[in-house]
């Protein structure tokens, strides 16, 4: 076992410090040290999108981020979005459209959709398809997710 590194990061506005091995990912730290299990470990290769979180305001893969390399940075996970207007609108729209079944991918879908709407407040179907292409869902067939993201976009700038 290699030596551990002392790291201080902010998670959902709270400062946290821990000692982690060099190669521990942010996803492991969130799930196993902080019990923030909203971000999911799907592929652990950056493909599936289930671990998507915000890091200093940018959507990233928690599974491809090393905790030690996040020193001083600020993480937002789905657990920290209780007061977020965009997430609330997206959650309502996902429920209404039936844009989830098992729910495994949903935290990542919501964070990715929030990031997309920050860049583009009124995305077309194609723009949602492109913007969300990195978030796999094995239940819905995607059309309901696309509908939900566009519905939420409409409500947010209504």
């Amino acid at each position: 076992m290699s030596d551990t590194l002392h790291v201080t990061i902010k998670v959902n506005e709270r400062s946290v410090a821990f000692d982690v091995p060099l190669t521990e990912t942010l996803l492991t730290s969130l799930r196993d040290r902080l019990q923030l299990t909203g971000a999911k470990r799907g592929c652990n290769q950056g493909v599936c999108g289930a671990c998507t979180v915000m890091l200093d305001g940018v959507a990233v893969r928690a599974c491809l981020s090393l905790t030690a390399n996040c020193e001083g940075q600020s993480v937002l996970t789905i657990e920290g979005t209780g007061a977020d207007r965009a997430i609330a609108a997206l959650q309502d729209a996902f429920i209404e459209a039936g844009a989830l079944q098992c729910g495994f991918c949903t935290p990542g879908q919501l964070i990715a959709a929030r990031a997309l709407l920050e860049q583009n407040s009124d995305p077309s179907v194609e723009e949602v398809q492109k913007g969300m292409s990195g978030n796999l869902c094995r239940c819905t067939g995607y059309n309901k997710i696309i509908d939900a993201v566009r519905t939420a976009a409409g409500k947010l700038h209504a």
Partner: protein, 284 residues
Amino acid sequence: MDTGLFRPASVAEALALLARLPDAKLISGGASLVAMINARLAEPAALVSLAGIEELKEIAEAPGGGFRIGAMARHRDLAAESRFSGTLAVLQMAAAQIANATVRNMGTIGGAVAHADPGLDYPPALVAADARIEIAAAAGRRRMAAAEFFVDWFTTALQPGEMVSAVHLPAARPGIGLYHKFARVSGDYATVSVALTMVREGSAISTRAAIGGCGPTPLMLAEANRLLSGDPTAEDLRRAGNLLQAAADPVDDVRGSAEYRLMLIPRMLARAFDEARLHAGAAR
């Protein structure tokens, strides 16, 4: 003291760390290296993070035309780069097709180039664009043509202790650059890709075409480029496709059999060439 995460503030400091820690790996965006760590294909004892080196983050216009793209430039920034006109659009178009929006927020051109996975989108685009890779070593910096930099599967001309510090693009020329990728699903590595630049010179054209995903390194042939330049006929295009097909050395993998990849090469070349010619004509 030989383990841990190091955060140099300059390229010189990074090179000094590499000299002192021969087993250390450089980490920029992490999109490839951390995936390899997760798959247990890499287990570095020490990492040198390039995140604090400001010089590596710039995308600057070069005094004599062209661009110097710092190694830490993100795929996202290159995909959104509006200054890549004419032939240089090939790089912007390749960047926009890498993985997905979230991974493009993380990955960097220097990381991708040094990783040299033949399925990546940048290598054929850089070869077609006649880009040069800037290599930083203790003895100084040198530039090498992208076509020489990629030498084998996951292998580049980088020597131990060296790093990619930038990518240099030549001045844009009137015409078009484009990148077509055939992949199983959006964001996958290329089964086959074609990167092509076409310069308009009066009524004649000058073309460079590179094939990705079909062997250890991007495939470009001087003879194929010659056939695709001047005033090519349909027969010239067919012969160029056959030459590239004969020279390609693809493998069977989950993205397609070698035989399937070989079938795709002339078809994708023809599609890219026809599109480029249409646009190069219209763009004059």
